[in-house]
């Protein structure tokens, strides 16, 4: 039993919709029903993959241990792209203080309500400056969305490339205080440049 193709969508002609029938081989041929040739064909495909993988082990390409798709984590690691959003970290200036001014934008945009900040003031180089007295990031809530990085007006928080050792057995230990979040400027330089690039003016429509 098969149905006539007489369904049109509104007034759109069938030529525009370009339907393509994909139903194939309603009845299998005797050859296919015989089963053995099909098994042989399948075996050829799987054997080809097996031999290719085997060759990948025996003749590795230069500078690599093997040429197979599997990555032997944790001995080997993938190279992750610059766009990768790992654990959010606070940018630490060279003198060990944080760039953050406790403006609270990241706290209010965070869709998971993972950030809580208590702001204060301190003296730095004869100037009064705002700083976060406490900056707590609940890693058990964070969804790695990257909004905190996108809204921060001070380049003070960035998504690092760290994705390891974030799991804990105890949720309380996943609440990261400021000290655990600080990462030096130098290590985050690539990411900060990248952020500056992707949100730069030339990506915006000129008026």
């Amino acid at each position: 039993m098969s149905y006539e193709l007489n369904y049109t969508i509104g007034s759109i002609p069938l030529e525009k919709l370009k339907p393509k029938k994909v139903r194939k081989n309603i009845e299998l041929t005797l050859w296919e029903r015989l089963y053995i040739p099909e098994i042989v064909r399948g075996m050829i495909i799987t054997t080809r993959h097996f031999v290719q993988n085997m060759a990948g082990f025996i003749f590795p390409p230069n500078g690599k241990k093997r040429r197979v798709f599997t990555v032997y984590y944790p001995e080997e690691k993938l190279t992750i792209p610059i766009a990768y959003r790992g654990r959010p970290v606070l940018v630490m200036r060279e003198d060990g203080t944080e760039r953050c001014v406790a403006c609270g934008l990241c706290e209010s945009i965070c869709p998971a309500f993972a950030i809580s900040i208590v702001g204060g003031e301190r003296r730095r180089e004869n100037e009064m400056e705002r700083y976060p007295v406490t900056y707590t990031l609940d890693m058990s809530r964070c969804v790695y969305c990257g909004f905190c990085e996108e809204v921060c007006p001070k380049e003070a928080i960035a998504m690092s490339d760290e994705y390891e050792e974030l799991a804990e057995r105890d949720r309380n230990r996943m609440i990261y205080p400021k000290e655990k979040l600080l990462v030096s400027e130098k290590r985050l330089k690539n990411r900060i440049d990248y952020v500056r690039k992707i949100y730069s003016k030339n990506n915006y429509n000129a008026k």
Partner: protein, 396 residues
């Protein structure tokens, strides 16, 4: 057999399948009443993955909804992002730059490829074809690597913004696509050879879970399952959004509406989606990706760092959210399972008054009893695989 039944009265057996059953991809429970191995009654029990998406949206600003939409149908999150962004843009009445539209098409189609790969791989796995699963998971891995280099995450993409995008395409994206698609096509043809004419597979899926076209329309089917019944309805063609009207692609349709047709439609759609991505990458113009409307799209970092008025306005839009005019819109995109619609109501404040999702797999799941009654219990597996119910989307 019938004589035997008369003399040997049998009892119906009620069986709970799920909620933690390997074939219930999300978490869903079937209450199956069996007469021997034949299904007499079938009740689908959904709601195990209900997280209150719509209520959460009402308590967050319009931008903050994006990470939540990632978690609807979590295999192709980009399509959810795009659908929500387009709905909000329709509410605002703004148009996005050309380059943005092309990138959104590329991202959606890559997501669609990854979803169909997952679906076919998983159904192969559950019917015993582990090899096909491994091949397609490799292909999916490659596609996800591309998405990762594009948006920074494999599944929780959070890539599209209202009136813009998070970032532009990476520089080597075109070469990467060529290499990945070459490998994907190889793996596709391998899996095609392994499954399409495989008698074990065909015996399990053919003539199982049949849905005639008129009933499919009545049940509210959309997407591959409706097309498998022979109705050439695709939102991308019937109601083109973004730049789909400039793309040359075909809608695969089946004839009988059984599981075999659904499988074939999905396989063909992978190829068609690859064609769309290639065309879009060829035609993509250069230019900006965001609208320059500080009231709707957060401003560029250059402005925020250097201009005090931009900074102040930035604070205002982030904390209060953008403020669309009061009104309501419905906008649908072609999700991987069918029409994914967003119905938004704004009361002029920074938060959605209502954000309703039309999940494409809800009508499909609802029609499970219709498709499965009278067949054997083993047919539940391929049928449920092929409608591709995703808990996160169905239960929200």
């Amino acid at each position: 057999m019938s004589d035997l039944k008369k003399t040997l009265p049998t009892e119906y057996m009620v069986l709970n399948m799920g909620p933690s059953h390997p074939v219930t991809h999300g978490t869903v429970k079937f209450l199956v009443t069996l007469d021997g191995e034949t299904i007499v009654d079938f009740v689908v029990d959904i709601g195990y993955l209900h997280r209150g998406f719509e209520k959460m949206c009402e308590n967050s600003t319009w931008e903050q909804v994006f990470p939540y939409t990632d978690r609807l149908n979590y295999v192709p999150p980009m399509i959810n992002n795009v659908g929500y962004a387009l709905a909000v843009e329709k509410l605002l009445g703004i148009d996005v730059p050309e380059r943005n539209k092309y990138i959104r098409v590329i991202a959606s189609e890559l997501s669609r490829i990854s979803d169909h790969l997952t679906n076919v791989a998983a159904s192969g796995l559950e019917l015993g074809a582990f090899t096909a699963f491994l091949y397609f998971v490799e292909a999916r891995e490659l596609v996800w690597d591309m998405l990762e280099s594009l948006c920074g995450a494999r599944l929780t993409s959070n890539y599209v913004r209202i009136g813009g995008l998070k970032n532009d395409l990476p520089e080597d994206f075109k070469d990467q696509t060529t290499a990945v698609f070459k490998r994907c096509r190889e793996l596709w043809s391998d899996v095609d050879k392994l499954l399409t004419k495989n008698r074990i597979f065909i015996d399990r899926v053919r003539d199982v879970g049949i849905m005639p076209p008129d009933e499919a329309i009545a049940w509210g089917f959309t997407g591959p399952c409706l097309r498998a019944s022979g109705v050439p309805y695709d939102v991308r063609k019937a109601n083109p959004y973004l730049v789909y009207d400039r793309m040359d692609f075909e809608i695969p349709i089946g004839e009988k509406g059984d599981n075999f047709d659904r499988y074939l439609v999905r396989m063909e759609e992978i190829i068609q989606s690859m064609r769309i991505v290639e065309q879009a990458l060829k035609e993509i113009p250069s230019g900006p990706i965001n609208v320059d409307m500080p009231e709707y799209r957060w401003q560029s970092k250059d402005d925020i760092y250097n201009k005090i008025e931009s900074l102040i306005f930035h604070f205002k839009t982030v904390t209060e959210g953008i403020k669309p005019p009061p009104g309501e819109v419905y906008f649908a995109v072609e999700g991987t399972n069918g029409e994914l619609g967003f119905y938004l109501v704004s009361d002029g404040r920074g938060k959605p008054y209502k954000c309703r999702v039309r999940p494409p797999c809800f009508p499909l799941t609802a029609a499970m009893p219709r498709m499965i009654k009278g067949s054997l219990i083993a047919d539940v597996v391929p049928t449920f695989d092929m409608i591709n119910m995703i808990g996160g989307e169905c239960d929200r």
